[in-house]
């Protein structure tokens, strides 16, 4: 600026200064009231786009966390059912051992057979366990009951697997193929648990020495084999649950770290902004004060 100052320059430059002080003040006040440094993409173009990506990642992690919780609940339902099955099979095995020691009368054997038949129904009921309206042991035919109650033992589901995404590109199979344990019953003669149970009932009711003999040999062996299979299925389900729990804590860690990055990108540093705000307030007041006294002064004040 050159030496000569026209009167209008004083007021216009004072006004400019007051305006720019006020606009800085308004900016800080916006940041404080919204808690954000990025109010529009132009405030920090890279930061704004980064924040959008981070927010989407965070939402995605939220979805994975939901998936994992859902899968864990599913596994819990299936696991509970398999634990029940296991105790039922254990009970059958006990009965079998009792029945085969040869001291029982036929009527006692008959009542054992009745209990075995009830336990068979119990196992089928466990196989029909539902989680959130879906049959957990029916493969992907989740609306179909895997085993009909009563005499019909054929598996109604399929062997397809159901999975849950637990991370980008990572998914786990959550369902257990129960038909590998239970099979299709005596009609199929597949030697699986339901077939075995039906055979045991037959042998108990038969009253023949061959029938009794089979209880101790082939039937006990078949029950042991089924227990083995069941234990394996339970182990697989258990390791799945462990995997899911690990995924859950990994997702939580990631959520924390991404949320922190997001906050660093878009949130206002309240302490820093508050100090800036006070400074700007002081500057604005000074500009107003200076304006008020400078604009009033004139040679006219001093002439007669």
């Amino acid at each position: 600026m050159s030496n000569r100052i026209a009167t209008a320059m004083v007021s216009s430059s004072t006004l400019n200064d007051i305006n720019s002080a006020l606009s800085a003040l308004q900016r800080s006040s916006n940041e404080l009231s919204s808690g954000r440094t990025i109010l529009q993409p132009s405030d920090n173009p890279y930061g704004a786009s980064h924040a959008i990506d981070l927010q989407s990642q965070l939402d995605g992690l939220g979805a994975y966390a939901t998936n994992v919780q859902d899968a864990i609940s599913w596994e819990n339902a299936a696991g509970g059912a398999m634990t029940n099955m296991s105790s039922v099979v254990q009970r059958v095995r006990e009965l079998l051992v009792q029945a085969s020691n040869g001291t029982f009368s036929q009527s006692s054997l008959n009542s054992i057979a009745t209990e075995v038949a009830q336990l068979t129904e119990t196992i089928k009921q466990d196989a029909n366990t539902q989680y959130a309206g879906q049959y957990v042991f029916a493969g992907t035919l989740t609306t179909t009951r895997p085993y009909q109650p009563g005499a019909e033992d054929e598996y109604q589901g399929n062997v397809a697997s159901i999975s849950r995404a637990i991370g980008p590109g990572a998914s786990v199979t959550i369902n257990t193929d129960i038909s590998s344990l239970l099979g299709n019953g005596s009609g199929a003669k597949d030697g699986k648990l339901l077939d075995t149970l039906r055979t045991i009932s037959e042998h108990l009711l038969s009253g023949t020495p061959e029938g009794r003999a089979a209880l101790n040999t082939t039937d006990l062996k078949a029950i042991d084999a089924s227990l083995e299979t069941l234990t394996q299925l339970q182990a697989t389900a258990g390791s799945m649950t462990n995997q899911l729990q690990a995924a859950s804590s990994r997702i939580e860690d990631l959520e924390t770290s991404i949320a922190k990055t997001l906050s660093n990108t878009q949130d206002a540093d309240i302490a820093k902004t508050t100090i800036a705000f006070s400074n700007q307030q002081a500057a604005y007041e000074a500009a107003l004060r200076a304006g008020a006294s400078i604009v009033q002064e004139s040679l006219l004040n001093f002439l007669r």
Binding site: S2, N3, Y46, A51, G133, G139, T140, A160, R164, A165
Partner: protein
Amino acid sequence: MSIPTLQGLQTALSGLLAQQQAIDVAGHNIANANTEGYSRERAVMRANRPLVIPAMSMLTGKGGQLGTGVNVETYTRIRNEYLDAQFRTQNSALSGSAAEAEELQQAQAAFNEPSSSGIASQLSKFWAAWSSLANSPTSEAAKQGVVAAGEQLASTLKQVSAQLETISTQANQQYASLTGPAGEVQNYANQIAQLNGQIKLAEEAGQKPNDMLDRRDLLLDKLSSLAQITVNQQPNGTDTVSFGDATKPLIEGTTVNWPQTLTAAAGGQLGALLGLTGPTGALASYQTTLDAVAENLAGSVNELHTSTPFFSGSTAATLAVAVTPAEVQTSSTEAPGGNDVAQAIAALRGGSADQGYSALIERVGDDVKTAQDEQANDQTTVTAIGNQRMSVSGVSLDEEMTNLISFQRAYQASARTMTAMDSMLDTLILHTGTVGL
């Protein structure tokens, strides 16, 4: 030749008249202290032609040149035309970057990011809906959720696209109204051409039409905010004005050549509007990118949703959900518990549609920031040049008061000189040669 008896009175009179005119000029300056575009004026005083006293007579001794007072030669306006040219160039740049920043800010506002209702958040909700569906593939509510999220996303895309279109249309309308028959270009040009005529007449009569010149300069300043202008002063006092990149000068003497065709290279507000709304302009490119995001979204979802296309349309404005909740496909098999399709679509999160959109937001933000920075820089330059110009041409009341005092005192002194002359003449005429009468 001796000194005329009444010469002293004439000299004093010339002083009275000149000082009075100077006071009038100071009054004019003070009255216009706040007039936009006014240049301060000065009464340029010059000593009158002296009276030559020859060295012949006993009375006059050696002779010499006797001053005969003062006259006001002209009223001049104090102005630096070089600063005017600089100011106008920067003013064009400023109003160009201001128009650009304003339009781009509107576009930025149309995207409404970052917020919980913008496209980014709708995309995220859409993917989350598919993820929920993958968890409960038989749930009607989850299918409803997917369709609802899809419709919300499509309608947000449509809205943003429509807003971009509106901004573009409004910019075009603004251009049309500025350049139209009742627009500012025509209006300023007509006034300048008329002033050209009046200034020419005044100059031919040997007058300095200061206030008309000021008005013409002010109009040229205003014209420079519309497009880049070049002013050529003609010897007859008229200004020939070329405007933007129009082929013919906008104003030649009293002739106005308008309408003419401009391009984005015209500079100023008009150039910026043409640049933004043109086929290669920022608004069109945002629209294209948004369409690409929509097309990408529809393409990638439809590719996985093989039973029937999930989305119809391939631009942001035409995108729509084409399925009912019952038609939402969760699995590639008939099995109700299958969720491979839902999972695959949920896994599109963070894919090319999301990336394309966040890159677009970064670009919009960048463009706005650049335009705002440019505007701030131009504003600083214009203010600096404006201040320099004001420093030369602006009225300083302190200065005028000082001048007023000195002119007033000089006037009083001239009057006192006249009184002294009068009393001399009184002695000469009334009291000389009266001895013995």
